[in-house]
């Protein structure tokens, strides 16, 4: 099981990283692989590559600011607010494991 995620927030100095950390912590606890891209005011770090996305079984987008969505076309995906990811990361990782995400259709 491989998950990719991206996080971002309005100011990009705190929430982005808290959400990323909590997703990583939850994935570790539930024993799944995760790569989390952070889009903060430092810039994009740990950027998801095409290959990362292709190989991922599920995608979590925890963003209150705009992120590029077209790249996730066709992937099982869940979009949540960044503050929800700070609180409920474990729930979302579990949902990804359970296969309950719907396939994303790019607009």
């Amino acid at each position: 099981m491989k998950i990719v995620a991206t996080t971002s927030c309005p100011t990009g100095i705190a929430h982005t990283y808290m959400a990323a950390e909590n997703l990583e912590k939850a994935a570790k606890k539930l024993g799944v692989e995760i790569k989390v891209e952070t889009q903060g005011s430092i810039g994009t770090e740990n950027a998801l590559t095409k290959k990362d996305i292709k190989n991922a079984d599920a995608v979590i987008v925890a963003a209150d600011a705009r992120v590029e969505m077209a790249r996730f076309d066709g992937k099982p995906l869940k979009e949540v607010s960044v503050s929800k990811a700070i609180k409920n990361a474990e729930t979302y990782i579990q949902e990804a494991i359970d296969g309950s995400f719907e396939n994303y259709k790019a607009k």
């Binding site: 100095i13 705190a14 929430h15 990283y17």
Partner: protein
């Protein structure tokens, strides 16, 4: 940038007096004013409140991180405050907050402090870190805990 370049004993309080969100923002910002980190108290507070209006920075776990990136900040700084009487901060989980990190970031210019703040944010997710801050009895204790953030990557 080391965390010690952002915070020192003059920017720490172990006993906040405020009992509501509006007051605690001003109480924390007062430390920035006294330490000469901001050049316009009112403008800084306004920027903080504008960010809060977009969504509370009460992130749950009893933690609030009011922050603003604004021209009224002279040098990047961090204020830490805690209270034995948690304050309603309109947090995402409706829990009151007892640990506060107020972040002052200047607009433009050097971005070195942002890496440090990102590391601090990541640390706050971990219960051991929050508990250590809650258990701290002195300002020195707080600095010792915060200094551990430097250079140590969480696996």
């Amino acid at each position: 940038m080391k965390i010690a370049e952002l915070i020192n004993k003059d920017l720490i309080t172990l006993s906040l007096k405020s009992t509501n969100k509006k007051d605690v923002i001003r109480e924390l910002a007062e430390y920035l004013k006294i330490a000469d980190k901001i050049n316009d108290f009112d403008a800084y507070v306004k920027a903080i409140e504008e960010r809060e209006a977009q969504g509370s920075t009460g992130v749950g776990y009893g933690v609030a991180i009011p922050h603003a990136k604004t021209e009224s900040v002279k040098t990047p700084a961090l204020v830490f405050g805690k209270t034995d009487t948690p304050i309603n901060y309109e947090s995402s989980d409706n829990d009151d907050a007892d640990l506060f990190f107020m972040i002052a970031a200047p607009k433009g210019g050097e971005n070195l402090h942002l890496q440090t703040l990102a590391k601090l944010s990541r640390k706050l997710i971990h219960e051991e870190f929050r508990d250590a801050l809650r258990d701290a009895k002195t300002k020195e204790d707080i600095l010792t805990i915060l200094n551990k953030i430097d250079g140590k990557e969480e696996s």
